[in-house]
Symmetry: none
Subunit: 399 residues, 2 copies
């Protein structure tokens, strides 16, 4: 509630639950306050069959989840001697005596089953009544996750009748609304599998999700849908699932056995830095020159003074020469160049902030594309670097 | 609800709200379902004064937050022509026509105020009725955060009684526990102002927070505490409040009227990219060479073949020559160099993954520092770049 902790438990559990075909309707977070906790538990059991809690199972005063459940359900919290023994042993194994307060962790809602915790002293609890199933898990992910995976997941799988499987198609350099328009016909007809768009910085994920009785039935449904989407988007798709643009470009360079060098102006090294985030990038990226000043463009890279004077540093002509020169001085197969105005200042009428020329050269050929971005300086840098990587990708797949 | 996204927005907002002295009682997450959304909004307004939502302001079918609020409050969703114009202009600036569906984003709950979005097309909304304040924010953090900080934070600050004023002291290249030790005496005695440490990637914020009736009383309390902390940490402090290491280094370069060039190996351009995130960086950073291959180090930069052969690319000697050579070929005052093993492969017994040498040259002098990082490839790159920027900072303040 103070914002010190990111709620990764909610994400982890939601992922596992949807895989089990269990629809997650609500996630709620409430502080260590008995009244609000009891209200929340009563609300939760009124709107869901299964209620899962994390946290508040520790030995201290502010660990009130078990008491909260008992107050909500009007049941007793009773001492389990076998559990008390187990907790004592847990501390013995650590070579210390159990602190008195940890005895609290041996109290269980009357009729509840306990879930052994091999990574901490707080046991989990499953309590079933005629309407709901309550699953109380410890808060620390390193205790919650193994307990869920080893004990709760199989328990819930027995109760679930279907599974949810999904794959992600990744595209970039298109607006979410434009993509929505292109896929409207598919999205309108969607039922099973469903198709949903998730915009992230610089890319959009298209998630295809099928709900079936078993995994075998899910795959063909998903694959057909992916085929339909691919028929519409074609090369716009840069990858699937965990692919990143950086990874895909690196793989294509290695697959085609091509080396690249980069001359960056407005992106200031960002393209090279993103490419080198991938292990083994050094096999393909020989070197880059960040030529910020005109002097560097001319003297170190070898762009003609005349070109810079006549067309300016931010121009098709300069981007072309940059791409050709970096390839030649670096002795690589491909040369990539980016020159533009990142902003916030430096824009003019005919050359506004966000204007960017991207060039790429191969053998004696050179190509350029003009782009216009409008965001903050860092956003323009990022979008220009994404565009440059994607143009390189599109060139490589046609090699 | 499928567990694809970690809810970082809830954490960010909770942190800022508690900072304003506003108690966060509940966080709730609900899917794109009108009935459940309306129920949730009605529940939220029944148990809190201020209701903040994130997400669901986009142009697509599953963006239903505004409609949900209107259904819950039984008010109309009306087209704001001025807003429609603004959105059209947003797309015009991008050089594209506004897709029809984006017109949806120009609809606002009757009587609501809109919050401009400089990082996306979805405007935020503030709607006040006699009982509650509703604040609707976009979902993507890169849109939500700037909108909250620039527009919502000051708006809420006005409504809060006791004011909480705080300043942040920024340090880097030290572990949180080491810093805790150094400040233990201060942290133990703290009352008002309070002192709290927040570790971020690559830096630690020391937040000094005073709670008083009015700003005038807060300032002296905060300034005294800052003086005490400064007496302990000295030059380790690189900045305050919104300062970034990149910004501070850029300012020092300009203040000292010095130019710099960078030779990057393992960081792959990240140091240069971070420096050029700051407007006007081109006044100080002339150019950089990302010399990934030994050939580039030797042929383009001019590191002696013998040095590379005898000491290896990752060595004090190579870092020294890189720093001297980049300064000379770039004709800058200062040369900065980074060479290391980012990993995950390429490590050996005496040169493990994470080993890094940073060099900097000025006039005829050259200095190096050996570092060892132990994280993922990208983490090692980032920490090496932070270390390099901080070493440059420490050099510049002593000039």
């Amino acid at each position: 509630m103070l914002g010190d902790i990111i709620n990764t438990n909610a994400q982890y559990l939601s992922q596992k639950l949807s895989y089990l075909g269990l629809n997650v309707y609500y996630q709620s977070v409430v502080g260590d306050n008995m009244e609000r906790l009891v209200d929340q538990i009563n609300l939760a059991r009124s709107r869901a069959d299964i209620v899962i809690t994390t946290g508040g199972l520790g030995p201290t005063d502010d660990d009130i989840t078990k008491a909260g459940l008992c107050n909500a359900l009007k049941i007793d919290l009773v001492l389990q001697n076998r559990l008390a023994e187990r907790i004592k042993n847990y501390f013995n194994k650590l070579g210390t005596k159990m602190p008195e307060i940890n005895l609290r962790q041996a109290y269980v809602p009357q009729g509840g089953k306990t879930l052994e915790n091999n990574n901490g002293s707080a046991p989990g609890i499953i309590y079933e009544d005629d309407k709901n199933i309550f699953i109380l898990l410890p808060g620390p992910p390193n205790e919650m996750i193994p307990m869920f995976d080893s004990l709760v997941f199989p328990y819930l799988k027995k109760k679930s009748h279907s599974i949810i499987k999904s794959r992600t198609i990744k595209v970039t350099n298109i607006s979410e609304s434009k993509l929505q328009e292109m896929l409207q016909s598919i999205i309108d007809k969607q039922k099973n599998p469903t198709v949903a768009l998730y915009a992230k910085s610089g890319e959009i994920d298209i998630r295809v999700t099928a709900k079936t009785e078993n995994p075998e039935e899910a795959d063909p449904l998903i694959n057909d849908m992916i085929k339909n989407i691919k028929a519409i988007l074609g090369d716009m798709i840069f990858g699937y699932d965990d692919d990143t643009l950086e990874y895909v470009v690196n793989s294509l360079l290695r697959k085609n056995n091509k080396t690249v060098s980069i001359a960056e102006s407005c992106t200031g090294g960002l393209v090279s830095s993103r490419l080198t985030d991938i292990p083994g990038a050094s096999e393909s990226l020989m070197n880059s020159l960040i030529c910020y000043s005109n002097d560097a463009k001319a003297r170190l890279l070898g762009v003609k003074e005349e070109t810079l004077r006549k067309y300016g540093a931010v121009s098709k002509e300069t981007a072309e020469e940059m791409a050709l020169r970096i390839k030649d001085i670096s002795k690589t197969d491909i040369g990539l160049s980016i020159t533009g105005i990142a902003g916030p200042d430096g824009g003019t009428e005919e050359k506004p902030v966000g204007l960017c020329f991207i060039g790429w050269s191969y053998l004696d050929k050179v190509y350029t594309q003009k782009c216009l971005f409008n965001g903050s300086r860092t956003k323009n840098k990022f979008r220009a670097s994404t565009k440059a990587l994607d143009l390189l990708r599109l060139f490589l797949i046609k090699l």
